[in-house]
Amino acid sequence: MSDFPSSAELDALRLSLEVAARSVGFSLPLAVLAAWVLTRARFPGRPVLDAFVHLPLVLPPVAVGYVLLILFGVHGVIGGWLRDRLGIQLAFTTAGAALATAVMTFPLMVRAIRMALENVDLGLEAAARTLGAGPWDRFFTITLPLMLPGILAGAVTAFAAGLGEFGAVITFASNIPGATRTLPLALYTAIQSPGGDAPATRLAILSIVLGLLGLLAAELLARRMRRFLGR
């Protein structure tokens, strides 16, 4: 127990933070778009899109990882194109781990943002309209700022959940030390190794501390935002 955390544990911690942060970065604009479409747009296929967005919530994460492998794998439909045209490889990389995490946490984020959007008073948007603001102008000056608390809440929740994503990541991005071995993967590896009880315990404690900090930060942020919006 001389060096806690060890460099391998630090690597896992850093990697978890990086993967979660990148996944939030990936999915945030898309989640805002999806939330907007699901709340405001009226089109025939809406329930189908709604179900599709929520699919990762009910699927086994391993299945999600496997589907990603088929699509984004080195020989996958999209993965092959990405590699040939842009030289990007996602499978078995940190970026891939972030993609898998993004897909898994996407429904959480959309739900939070959608709730925020539903709470935005349409009357305020109508007022902005009468004051000369066009659709994009209204979105960026009225709708988006008023949704900000929900967007932040969604981002923080997705980030916190992303720190612990396991099944999809290990299936799509594998368990490569320093590249895709995040905290939960390192924890799993430790449990699988003989005499890994002590490192496993340390990693578990690290996860708990991280989770607590995340939740406290989310609460603090939410309070700040509420004050900013004067509620």
Binding site: D121, L131, G132, D137
Partner: protein, 362 residues
Amino acid sequence: MLRVAVLKQQGRFTLRARFEAPTPGIVAFFGRSGCGKTTLVNIISGLLTPDEGSVRLDDSVLTDTGSGIAVPVETRRIGYVFQDPRLFPHFSVLGNLRYGQKRAAPATHSISFDEVVALLGLAALLDRQPQQLSGGERQRVALGRALLSQPRLLLLDEPLASLDVARREEVLPYLEALRDRLSIPMVYVSHQFDEVLRLANHVVLMDSGTVVAQGTLGEVSLRPELRALVGPDGVGAVLDGVVTKTDPGRGMADLQLGNGTLYVSLRDVGVGARVRVQLLARDIILATELPRGLSVQNTLKGIVTEVSDDDQDAVLVKVDVGGAIVLARITQNALDTLHLSAGRSVWVLIKAVSTRGHAFRM
């Protein structure tokens, strides 16, 4: 001229409205809650599209379903003050005021920021957040915000409805100031006749989705359709007069109405001021001979022009008192006793204290 002729079906409710009102000036949409006033205002603003019809302001067509014209709300330049203030909670008062001003084309700027702030008394509020304001202050900021968007027409949808009586008095004088100092045409929606009396010069009377009467306030005040909305005690001719003499010591003034002069209770007005009074029909006494020794201050000679049934017990008598028409509500019995009918000469007795007067600056 604001010219509107529209049809709009909303579930079971049908709005079928047609009216014309002069610009500039304040036209009041007066009617009960649910009669379609707000729907009509929303159609004028462009927030609602009529099923059929057109909206024209001066020489521009804003909506015309026949030729497919529908100027988008954001380019219509029609200011809208809603029942609830709808201030943006994430902007300060200053930010709210500037929102519309920034988006108005510079060429259209005719009302300056300083002018609006002075006119509405907003100087002390600029740094505050909307949630730190009282209801009356919020509505004043909403007014200022709409004005600064440099509108060609200002829509006011019951802007005082969400305020209690004391707070209304915090806003009404500002509305009067806007009317008197700016030349922006306004549509004022209300179900309170005293607000209409204080502000409007043209009235569109609405009932269950249709326009039942329209005209100047004076004309509409004589219309039988108004009675259903204001009740028997609210009926009375509205007359615009000019102050010819004042008696500040007694708080009285002489008011020129048509060819006659009315002596009324009125303070804080100068000679030459335009004053609007409503002579409630229930307070007016008719006599066939010149009475003497009465406390009544005004005895005007007139000719009965029309007698109409008001309800079971009373009749409404229209009397021309030299260019101005007054309404008197008397019992059927009194009518029979005095043998009143059209063409008959009468004396009209008006108590000086029973007139509701409002000063105008025009």
